[in-house]
Amino acid sequence: MKMLIVDDSLIVRRKIEREINLADLTEIVTASDGEEAVEVFIKHKPELVTMDLTMPRMEGTECVKELAAIDPDAVILVISALADKATAIKAVKNGAYGFLCKPFTESDLNEALVKCIAFSKKLKGNK
């Protein structure tokens, strides 16, 4: 399974990539803003995406909407410091599957991704 990590922070992108302990993920690509994310998403067709929200060029909720329009089966996990409920609800309305608040631990990350992978497999199984 391919995964795209979208975050404008280099240290966060590297942390997510380093702390993933899931055999299902075989290829990881990254992007540092929403516009780059759309380009990478079209090129690599990842099944799973982690998405920051506060980013330059194109912010995350808009990017979620664009990616969901390109491939509605892509499972998007928003990983953001924006901790209010309205932001999480907006992200889900735009097409995100779930929300993980920064800062997060390695186990928080892997637990959230396990749920995303299970959902992605369920989507594929239903086709």
Binding site: D8, L10, K102, P103
Partner: protein
Amino acid sequence: MITEKDIEVFIDGIKHYFTTATELNIVVETPYLITVNEISVNDYTGIIGISGERKGFVLVTASEYMLQDLVLSLGEPEASPNLIYDVIGELANTISGNARRFFGAGFMISVPLIVMGQPERIGSVRDTHGYVIPARWKSFSFQLVISLI
């Protein structure tokens, strides 16, 4: 106008960041009021502009030594200049973003502006007030400054 509750929100946020990200507690010292032009910054400063229902800024300023240690504590094998530059912005962003749990979605935050050394200007009005929240992580002192109306 900054209230006691506002200060509490940011103290909780900064404690939460270090406890979760580094598994180490910080010590927060007594906050104090200053005017914005009195702000004294350290080697690196991450500044978040605030707009919407509140206006102003949140900044975190820390020494290069502390940020090197923080980068290593986050699991990096070495503290490159790029990562030191990045981590101060992410710290300011995370603390400001987490504050929306209390302030709500109308508390709009900018992407971080990162400054090395003394910035020419912080905020748009020089005689506005801010609260300095001094803190210590390991043996390092650092400061969170909030200026909101």
